[in-house]
């Protein structure tokens, strides 16, 4: 009769063994390598890095493998590892204007300095299952797809200025100036509402893609009013620099891939201010377009209070967004109801029995 709560240790051990077996799948098939995951499931790796808030394609690929492709689980693995990594300091801010772009589009200007560069995108593919991929494994070898040539590709090294600069000059775009304040770090300092924009952006950068997407969508359907134009979406490679104390000058740590999205939104001026456009901002590790775009829309929605807009949707409520956006927190708490609740349930059970008894006694 005590079986229900005995043997926990043995059960856990057995569960771990089963999981290891399931992870490996059919042992007659070759195991998947981290290189294969990184190279051929790159978008999964990118999402895990973005929401795991750690730029490491290798560890992200490991997490994807270990989690058997469950990306939320992989994100959790990466986060837990990240929490224990020592910190040497903060890198220098990256200037996305110096990005070597692979893709760069603007929906607000037909042409702009630096030009449009379609790059790799699902956007204009027809979503037809490509049965040819079912064929035998693509053989390995040195002969990859031929070098791709196209308009704009001739000078991938060319600097492309940020699109919004054009509006800034005319004063049509709200200016965003560096006030010199050190931004907080939501992973190191307790959060206190209201959270400033730097803190909100940090939260959104690691927020669950599905949640962020749904919030962005909700504003477009009228739960909060954001009328965004994509001023620029760029994706490419940047160097990250760090100044070690003992050297006193910056050294390059390496290169990372980033996706950045800037939206332009309407704003009716007021209080004697002439009207200007406002902006939303999104940034994600790797190639993560859906996330960067959704993040920019939600960032803008969360500025409702600051801009004196009516708050009518959850995407504009920073407590709502901040407290529910993190899938490590959300998945943990939702799943914890699988843990035993015998004691609380017993308390409810005996309370209910007492109340029913009292009600019966009253009727008699």
């Amino acid at each position: 009769m005590y079986v229900a709560v005995k043997g926990g240790a043995k059960a856990i051990e057995a569960a771990h063994r089963l999981m290891a077996k399931r992870r490996r799948g059919n042992p007659e098939l070759p195991g998947i390598s981290l290189d294969q995951i990184r190279e051929q499931l790159g978008l999964a790796v990118d999402r895990v890095m973005a929401e795991g808030s750690l730029y490491s394609p290798e560890l992200a690929a490991l997490a994807v493998k270990q989690a058997r492709g469950d990306l939320v689980e992989a994100i959790f693995l990466l986060r837990a590892a990240r929490a224990t990594f020592p910190r040497f300091g903060y890198c220098l801010p990256v200037d996305t204007g110096t990005m070597r772009v692979e893709r760069r589009i603007s929906a607000t200007w037909k042409d702009l300095p630096g030009g449009q560069l379609l790059g790799p995108t699902f956007d204009y593919t027809h979503r037809l299952l490509d049965y040819s991929l079912m064929e035998e494994k693509e053989p390995a070898g040195r002969d990859g797809p031929a070098e791709i040539k196209g308009p704009g590709m001739k000078s991938p090294e060319m600097k492309r200025p940020k699109a919004l600069k054009a509006l800034l000059g005319e004063g049509l775009m709200e200016a965003e100036e560096d006030d010199g304040r050190e931004p907080g770090d939501i992973t190191r300092q307790p959060v206190d509402f209201p959270v400033d924009r730097a803190g909100r952006l940090q939260n959104l950068a690691r927020s669950d893609e599905g949640f962020t997407l749904a919030l962005a969508y909700s504003t477009q359907r009228g739960f909060g009013s954001v009328h965004p134009f994509v001023a620029e979406l760029r994706q490419g490679t940047l160097s990250v620099e760090f100044t070690p104390e003992e050297l006193g000058f910056p050294v390059t740590l390496g290169e990372i891939d980033l996706t950045e999205c800037e939206t332009v939104n309407q704003f009716k001026g007021g209080g004697g201010q002439p009207p200007t456009f406002t902006r939303g901002y999104g940034l994600a590790f790797g190639h993560n377009e859906r996330k960067a775009l959704a993040m920019a829309i939600v960032d803008r929605a969360l500025r409702a209070e600051e801009l004196g807009e009516e708050i009518k949707g959850p995407a504009q409520n920073q407590e709502f967004v901040f407290s529910h956006s993190d899938n490590v927190e959300a998945a943990g708490f939702v799943s914890h109801i699988k843990l035993p609740h015998y004691v609380d349930f017993q308390a409810e059970l005996s309370m209910l029995r007492q109340m029913r008894k009292a009600a019966n006694d009253d009727q008699r």
């Binding site: 229900a4 709560v5 307790p190 943990g332 799943s335 109801i337 035993p340 004691v343």
Partner: protein, 284 residues
Amino acid sequence: MTSAETGYNFAYLDEDSKRLIRRALLKAVAVPGYQVPFAGREMPMPYGWGTGGIQVTAALIGPDDVLKVIDQGSDDTTNAVSIRAFFSKTAGVATTTVTGEASIIQTRHRIPERPLKPGQIMVYQVPIPEPLRWLEPGETETRVLHALGEYGLMYVKLYEDISRHGRIATSYDYPVEVFGRYIMSPSPIPRFDNPKLDRSPALHLFGAGREKRIYAVPPYSPVRSLDFEDYPFAVQRWPEVCAICGASDSYLDEVVLDDGGRRLFVCSDSDYCAGRAGKGSPPQ
């Protein structure tokens, strides 16, 4: 102090994180019942599975500590096993199932039946630290209500219980007032355990990992369960006694024996039950 076996620091967390948590703990002890925000870390267990309690324990534990971990009153429930194994592995500390031998007792949902002693530390895993949350979802507003001691809202809940059910129907996570000031969630312990908090000689620490709050009840603090003068607080009682040890003063779990509705009751506190039954472990 890095453990060779795991490659992680003693008790998993790095020393900077531990210091940060200890600072929050000191503040919590200084302001009993007040929820101190802290920058919680991601732990290798999911949020909601005790990460708050684990961080508090990790920040406190030293090589000489003796750790007991219980979930639902028992040392052998899966999550208690898992957490105890985590600290055995990362800190190599001694563990025990005997309440009286432990220097730190991490718990989910229960306070042991055996009275706690001076010097012992209880660490609670807290899912929702805010007792006003169900009445007021906004964190900004609840913090103001606590700051001003505006607790009318909490009594609205109790009033509503009585007018609907003829009694205060909150059976666990029953709100308490600490030192006549802050209203606090005792974590989801059954209200049966609430009186054990009042003027307890042990130090009680509460960690909410996902919500990133720490709070405390220092030793010998008055802890009052909220009630009305004409509907005083009372704990639940069973007509049955424990089927194993015969205890009539402990919190009982109900065990369903068959489809016919036969059931019996046993102590939820497995150590207490085993001690009374005079054996090393409860009978199978």
